[in-house]
Structure formats: C-alpha cells, structure tokens
C-alpha cells in the first residue's frame, strides 16, 4: 500500500515511549520522499492527458493525490514529533545533550537545536535562553519571529514540497 514507509516511520516513533528519541531514519525518509516524487511525476503526466480528453484517468490521478497527501502527513508528523521530543530533551538535559542522544539526531536537527537557544528580538540583540531564565518583552513582534524561526527549522529539515 502506498505510504507504508512513511507510516512505518510514524509507527516506530509512536512505539518509543518515555520521550525516547530513536535514530533518525534517513534512508526510509529518502524512500518516502522518492515515492512522493514518483507519484507527483506520474500525476503531472496524466493530468496533461486528462486535459487532452482522457477523463478515465481522473480517478487514478485522484488516487495518487491521496497517496501524496498521506505521505506528506506522515512525514510531517514524524519530523514534528521528533522536534517536540528534542525540545523536551533540551529543557531537561540542558544545552549539551548526551552523545547517545545526539547520535540519533540528523545534522539539521542538531543545527536547529543549537539555534533554538537563541532568539533575536526587534533591535537585533540576542537573548540566550537557559532553563529558568526569564524573558519579558512588550514587543508584539517576537511571536511572529518565533513562528518564522520554527518554519525555518522545519524547512531546514530537508523537506521539500512541490505545490501539488
């Protein structure tokens, strides 16, 4: 069934209890993205045919689109849940995670974590967030910057989409 690899990623993560971070499954993720690429290309070709008159292809196009969405959802859930676990570990362990945990993180996740401790505010000063430190801002801009930063982290995890 389509989306099995992506769903497998989610399943493994779901089984890892207690906030445990399993190794980052680069190969499985690559295969899931490859499946998405193939589905997308097949659909691109068939859409042209369908427009040229082959309306019998519409069901198949719709089916592939469902598979693409399924893959996207599983992959996003996988990456997002890992980010949440890493964030929780950061708060409990401090800025330096044990090597055993770091080995399970992708390069992008490591970079994201390093950036996570710092936030830029309006006037460009950086604030280093350590546990129990307090940060107060009357500026409305911070939440927006935070959202942009998170979006950047997700993007930096190597996930690329075509607008299907």
């Amino acid at each position: 069934m389509a989306g099995e690899r992506a769903a497998g990623l989610v399943r493994e993560l779901h089984r890892a209890a207690g906030g445990h971070l399993p190794p980052f499954r680069v190969e499985e993720l690559r295969q899931a993205l490859e499946e998405m690429r193939a589905l997308y290309e097949q659909n691109q070709a068939d859409v042209s045919e369908a427009k040229a008159g082959r309306t019998d292809l519409i069901f198949l196009i719709r089916f592939r689109h469902c598979c693409l969405l399924r893959n996207q959802r599983c992959i996003l859930a996988y990456l997002y849940d890992r980010l949440l676990r890493i964030r929780a570990l950061r708060w409990e362990y401090g800025s330096v995670l044990p090597n055993t945990i770091q080995f399970h993180m992708s390069a992008e996740e490591v970079r994201c974590l390093r950036d996570y401790g710092e936030f830029e505010i309006d006037d460009g000063t950086t604030v280093l967030l350590k546990k129990n430190s307090q940060f107060c801002s009357t500026s409305q801009v911070l939440p927006v910057k935070l959202l942009a930063h998170i979006a950047n982290c997700l993007h930096g995890s190597g996930l690329q989409f075509s607008s299907a």
Binding site: G18, F63, C66, R70, R73
Partner: protein, 156 residues
C-alpha cells in the same frame, strides 16, 4: 470496475469519497452496525472496547464522513456509550493510587485510556503536593528513565 468490493485504508476512503459524485460507498464495520449498536445501548459499561476497537470513538467519528444513512444512529451510539462509561473511568482513575491499574484499563479504548492517564496524573500530582513534595527539587524523571523501556501498553 463498478460493484467491486475492496478493503482500503480510512485515509484513502476519505480522499476518494465525494458527496456529489458516488465514487465509492462505504460499508460499516460490524461494531457500528445496528446489531452491535443494540448491544451498546443495553449496557455499554461491560463492553471490551479495546478488543473491539481500539479506536472505537475516533474511528467511529471518522465514519461519519461517508454520508451513510445510519449516521445519526451511529453518532448517537458513540455519544451514549461514552457518557455511560465515562463516570466509571473518572472515578477509578481518581481512586487508584500507587496500584496496578492494568485490570482497570484493559477494556478501555485508546481515548478512554488517555483520559484515565490524565486522571492518574492529576491524582499523583495532587498527592505529591499534599505531601509537601511539590516544592522539592528532584532529578528529572525524563533523564532518569531515559531509554528504559516502560511496561509496554497492550497492543491490540
């Protein structure tokens, strides 16, 4: 291809379903059909929802997406089942302190187990506070238990 009967995953059925164009029609799994609905309405508290589900409520809610004529009855059964079972879940989760709860949760579906767990957490936090332990600094439980496999939840 018309009239073919296939088993497909929920996400695919949802993606293919179209209210206006009848691409697919969905047959209800048996626990959501009338026979089982009658069982539930008789006494919902004794049913083993883990064995029948384990996502009885979640999946049942998703089933409502398919314009089935029995949807009002299905929705009603889901709701009444939950209502009749909830009181017991709430009571037992609030009263089981420091005991083995596996029997209590054995026949709960996943939603109910999550509720039970939330109740247990509240109970434990309260007991901790009552003992004056809430303000004590303790080692992080995430760090202490990291990597140790907790007793695995029973997978259906």
């Amino acid at each position: 291809m018309q009239g073919t009967k296939l088993e497909i995953p929920l996400w695919l059925a949802k993606g293919l379903h179209d209210s206006k164009r009848r691409i697919i029609s969905v047959e209800l799994p048996k626990i959501y059909k009338e026979a089982w609905r009658t069982v539930f309405s008789a006494d919902a508290t004794v049913v083993d929802l883990h064995k029948l589900g384990p996502y009885y409520y979640g999946f049942g809610s998703q089933l409502l997406n398919f314009d089935n004529p029995e949807n009002p009855e299905i929705a009603q059964t889901l709701l009444q089942t939950f209502i009749s079972r909830f009181r017991h879940i709430m009571d037992s989760s609030q009263n089981a302190y420091n005991e083995d709860t596996s029997v209590l949760v054995a026949r709960l579906d996943e939603l109910e187990r999550a509720l039970f767990q939330a109740g247990q957490k509240g109970l434990n936090d309260f007991q901790c506070w009552e003992k004056g332990q809430a303000s004590q600094i303790t080692a992080s439980s995430l760090v202490q238990n990291y990597g140790k496999r907790k007793f695995p939840e029973m997978d259906g």
